[in-house]
């Protein structure tokens, strides 16, 4: 399989314009031209590690505290899921479980897998790996839905002493974790998937 790099062509990482060898700057967007992004895998690992670190307190600390009649009560993500499940809202519990727990974990796992496969030249279907990468890119932003819900609730529901919501430390950590994993996914240069020494 012939890569653009094999032809000496360089695709701009920013706008996708293909350049013949020579210029170091994109003729359309002016971005620096790299055949492959420098230090891509290091960035991936660094952001991924940070994201994982934040994921720990995000699950241990309450995501959201509600204060009813001065009585403060907070729940972590998993507690909230259990609460919904027990009260019969299995659908809601499932959605939250998927969006707030499964997806972040899966995303981290996928990025780690991709990074490893590139680093250690694992023999995997390149197309499948690309699909996985695209999936991570797509799904990653949805993880922020939890943070949005918390932000909306705390912003909108303010009934003084009767009922109010406060963002917990878990929400902040969760948001940071999501941001870190997204940056990690972005740091990954998908073209590296094709830089195998061996052809299939």
């Amino acid at each position: 399989m012939t890569r653009a790099a094999d032809m000496g062509w360089i695709g701009c990482h920013n706008c996708g314009a293909v350049h013949a060898p020579g210029p170091s700057r994109c003729r359309t967007c002016g971005a620096a031209l790299y055949a492959r992004l420098p230090n891509s895998l290091q960035k991936v690992w660094a952001w991924l590690l940070t994201g994982v670190l934040f994921l720990i307190p995000a699950n241990l600390y309450p995501l959201l505290s509600n204060e009813i009649f001065g009585h403060e009560e907070g729940h972590t993500i998993l507690e909230g899921i259990v609460l919904f499940a027990r009260s019969g809202d299995l659908l809601v519990a499932g959605v939250i479980f998927l969006a707030s727990f499964v997806i972040p974990v899966v995303k981290v796992a996928v990025i780690a897998l991709l990074a490893c496969s590139v680093r250690y030249d694992w023999q995997m279907n390149r197309r499948r790996r690309l699909l996985l990468y695209e999936f991570v890119e797509f799904i990653g932003r949805w993880s922020m839905i939890d943070v949005f819900v918390v932000a909306l609730l705390t912003g909108l529901v303010h009934l003084g002493a009767i009922l109010s919501f406060l963002p917990g430390l878990g929400a902040v950590c969760f948001a940071l974790s999501v941001i870190c994993t997204m940056l990690s996914a972005q740091a990954m240069d998908a073209k590296l998937i094709w830089d195998d020494d061996r052809d299939e």
């Binding site: 094999d6 032809m7 060898p21 230090n39 290091q42 307190p57």
Partner: protein, 804 residues
């Protein structure tokens, strides 16, 4: 792509570096994150909360991870767990307290549960209705030995933690409906609260913990007394009925009042202990007994009933309360064979301070004193009625020197025994019975009998015929008087008198014609000359007066008292005489004489006519002429006096000598003689013959009566009548003469003036001067009387005859 074109080896700058150089800066991100996390972990570890354990009876309202622990309403921790104690009887609440308060967590930290509470003192903890109960904590700012296990207080302290003031412990036999939170009042102002009410099983009394807030805690000292003001009190005691109602709040939750009525209290330490008295009166009573440590309890046995004696009854010594009854019981004395003797035992206190003894400091001293009182003063305990109105009794320490010998048994247990006297019979019931007995014993019937007899006698007297005749006799007598007044002759009397006065007028006129007044004036001038002579002579008077003084002094020394005694005896004899029966007969005779006088008056009217005629004769015989002549003689006499007064000094000297002689006279003898005379008079009056005198007097009056009758019949009155007519003529003459009298008076006045001037020369203040001035005063009085006489005669000429 087997036929792949010859790929131009791309000169792609991969810039993939190996080793440290290729390390990206992006690795700083996770490093910073890890460092931050580690810092947080360290911080939270170093600030970890302190676990404590609090024991509760139950866990009402306490929830793990929710229930807060608050210190001054600031959250300082949270309940972290709960478990049971080993014996399952208690709940041990595990909690975590913020680390910065660790050093204050010592053994005096207190915890209690706060829930909503509605009590008489108000509603509290309302906020816990929504947020749930919390555990309140209180500790002081003093660092002590660390403690981690606590037992929660059952009740929230009534006094807010940290309030400055003084906690006092009040001991009372019962709570008297005082509840926690009840006010402590002083003069009606709330000074604090009751913080706790607790029953002390050991002493069987109630311990109330009160808290007096600063700065009012300064009012509390050892002389302070607390008493219960709960509710309303109606007391029927020896002093009557007393109704007491304090504030409405104290009706609901009770209350305690205090006062420091006595000065000299000492400051107190922490948590002082006081008695809580049932009433203000008893509290104030106790103020006197300030030497409580010397108070003793003694016991006395009494025969018979002690009904009316109650706990708190007074122990009285000479009417002053010295203690109170503490206990009543019965005792069986089996010393008498076969007949157990039941005696009532009374245990009571005696406070030496009330006996006026302040230097007694120990109960032993007090007992020694009591023993002395019992042995020497005969002091015994005795039951006496407290007051006339109530049936209450008091224990009286009676001083009875005649009591059989006894001693204070100091060795007796449980209390020393004070010897007693049997209850006297004059307790209230007996006393009233005695009064009735005495009333019953009064001789009322005899008295009534006598009264009846007296009335009967009076009746007899009134019914007597003689008594009934008295009015008739009186009427007869008045009729006689009437007849006299209305008789013809009496009516003519004024006319006759008028004629008589006319005659007197004529006489006086004649007197004037003969210049009698001028002669009188001339005579007075002579008299004035004589007075001048007298004044010269009076130089020797002081000496004379001194002699008279001496004479008087001598007379003063005479045994006059003896004379007076004799006179007294005479009077007594006369008294005896007057009491004789004969004297009593005199009035009857007088009555008869009056009847005669009545008739005589009729005759007198006729006599007035005779007087008239007599006066006519008097005029005829130139009586006035004779008067004028007499005045002429008087003038001559005055001249002679003048001459004589020249020789007055000599005369005064003679008088002086005479008085000296008189001084030398044996006046004492004279007085003795007078005494003798009086004694003789006494003897005379005592003479039996004297007793007959009244009889004789009565006879004499009867004679007079007869004489008057004869007088009336003998026409004496007609003669008198004529005489008065003559007097009337004479009076006319006198009236004329009187008109010249003012002139005479003026001259006399002038004479007095010169006499005064003369005597003034003797110098003021000398005895002579005073004497002479008195003489002149008399002279002036004479002149005034003369003037008055003239005026009177002018106004009422007939007064010359009538004599008024």
């Amino acid at each position: 792509m087997s036929d792949a074109p010859q790929l131009r080896q791309p000169d792609i700058e991969t810039r993939v570096a190996r080793g440290w150089r290729g390390l990206s800066l992006v690795w700083l991100v996770p490093v910073v994150a890890v460092a931050g996390a580690l810092a947080l972990v360290w911080q939270s570890y170093s600030n970890r909360d302190i676990p404590i354990r609090i024991e509760f009876a139950d866990a009402t309202g306490i929830e793990v991870d929710k229930t807060e622990i608050r210190f001054r309403e600031v959250s300082v921790g949270r309940v972290s767990g709960m478990r049971f104690s080993e014996d399952l009887s208690r709940v041990i609440v595990e909690a975590e307290i913020h680390r910065e308060l660790e050093r204050y967590l010592d053994s005096d930290a207190r915890f209690w549960r706060v829930t909503a509470r509605v009590g008489p003192g108000g509603i509290s903890g309302l906020n816990t209705l929504l947020s749930g109960a919390y555990i309140a904590a209180d500790w002081d700012a003093v660092e002590g030995e660390a403690a981690r296990d606590f037992v929660a207080e059952a009740e929230a302290p009534a006094v807010p933690p940290g309030t400055k003031g003084l906690a006092v412990v009040l001991i009372a036999p019962d709570s008297g409906s005082v509840s926690v939170g009840a006010p402590i009042l002083h003069k009606g102002v709330q000074m604090g609260k009751i913080a706790a009410v607790r029953y002390d099983a050991l002493s069987g009394s109630v311990l109330l913990t009160g808290f007096i807030e600063a700065p009012n805690d300064k009012l509390i000292n050892s002389a302070t007394r607390f008493w219960n003001v709960s509710g309303a009190g109606l007391e029927l005691g020896e002093g009557g009925i007393q109704l007491k109602v304090d504030s409405l709040a104290s009706l609901l939750q009770g209350g305690v009042a205090f006062d420091t009525a006595m000065s000299g209290g000492e400051a107190l330490g922490k948590r002082p202990i006081f008695d809580l008295y049932a009433t203000e009166d008893s509290a104030r009573d106790s103020l006197l007994g300030d030497s409580l440590q010397a108070t003793v309890e003694v016991m006395s046995s009494f025969d018979g009933s002690v009904r009316g004696l109650k706990l708190g009854s007074e122990v009285v010594f000479r009417g002053v309360k010295v203690g109170q009854v503490r206990h009543l019981s019965a005792e069986i004395d089996e010393s008498v064979e076969g007949k157990p003797d039941i005696r009532m035992q009374v245990i009571y206190t005696i406070e030496p301070g009330r006996l006026g003894l302040h230097d007694v400091s120990t109960p032993d001293d007090t007992l020694s004193l009591l023993a002395t009182m019992v042995a020497r003063g005969g002091v015994r305990a005795q039951l006496m009625p407290a007051s006339f109105f109530s049936g209450g009794l008091v224990v009286q320490l009676q001083e009875n020197p005649d009591a059989p010998a006894a001693t204070l048994d100091r060795e007796a247990t449980p209390f020393p025994i004070m010897p007693s006297l049997p209850t006297p019979a004059d307790t209230l019931a007996v006393a009233s019975q005695n009064v009735l007995d005495r009333v019953a014993a009064l001789p009322v019937e005899e008295l009534m009998q006598r009264a009846i007899e007296t009335l009967e006698n009076v009746n007899t007297i009134l019914a007597d015929g003689d008594t009934r005749r008295i009015p008739a006799d009186l009427r007869d007598m008045l009729g006689n008087v009437n007849a006299v007044a209305g008789s013809e002759s009496l009516r003519n009397l004024p006319e006759d008198l008028r004629q008589a006065l006319a005659s007197v007028n004529a006489v006086l006129a004649h007197f004037e014609e003969e210049e009698g007044a001028q002669k009188l004036v001339a005579a007075l001038e002579e008299l004035r000359t004589a007075a001048t002579g007298i004044s010269a002579a009076s130089a020797d008077l002081p000496a004379l007066v001194r002699d008279i003084d001496a004479l008087v002094a001598k007379a003063d020394a005479l045994p006059l008292e003896q004379v007076v005694t004799s006179a007294d005896q005479v009077l007594q004899t006369a008294d005896t005489l007057l009491r004789s029966d004969d004297v009593e007969r005199v009035p009857a005779a007088l009555n008869a004489a009056l009847a005669q006088a009545e008739q005589t008056l009729v005759s007198i009217r006729e006599a007035a006519g005779s007087v008239n005629s007599t006066l006519s004769t008097f005029e005829e015989k130139k009586v006035a002429q004779t008067l004028v002549d007499a005045l002429g003689d008087m003038r001559t006499a005055a001249a002679n006096v003048e001459t004589a007064s020249a020789e007055l000094p000599q005369l005064v000297a003679d008088i002086d000598r005479l008085i000296a002689t008189a001084n030398a006279l044996p006046l004492a003898d004279v007085t003795a003689s007078a005494d003798r005379v009086l004694q003789s008079a006494d003897a005379f009056l005592r003479n039996e013959d004297m007793d007959k005198v009244p009889g004789a007097l009565a006879g004499a009056l009867e004679e007079a009566q007869r004489a008057l009758e004869e007088l009336r019949q003998g026409g004496a009155v007609e003669n008198l009548n004529r005489t008065l007519q003559t007097a009337s003529t004479a009076a006319d003459s006198v009236a004329l003469a009187v008109q010249t009298l003012p002139d005479l008076a003026a001259r006399l006045d002038a004479l007095a003036d010169s006499a005064e001037a003369t005597i003034g020369a003797y110098g003021p203040g000398s005895p002579v001067n005073r004497e002479v001035q008195a003489a002149i005063g008399d002279l002036r009085a004479t002149v005034r009387s003369l003037n008055a006489l003239v005026q009177a005669i002018r106004r009422k000429p007939n007064s010359l005859l009538v004599g008024r």
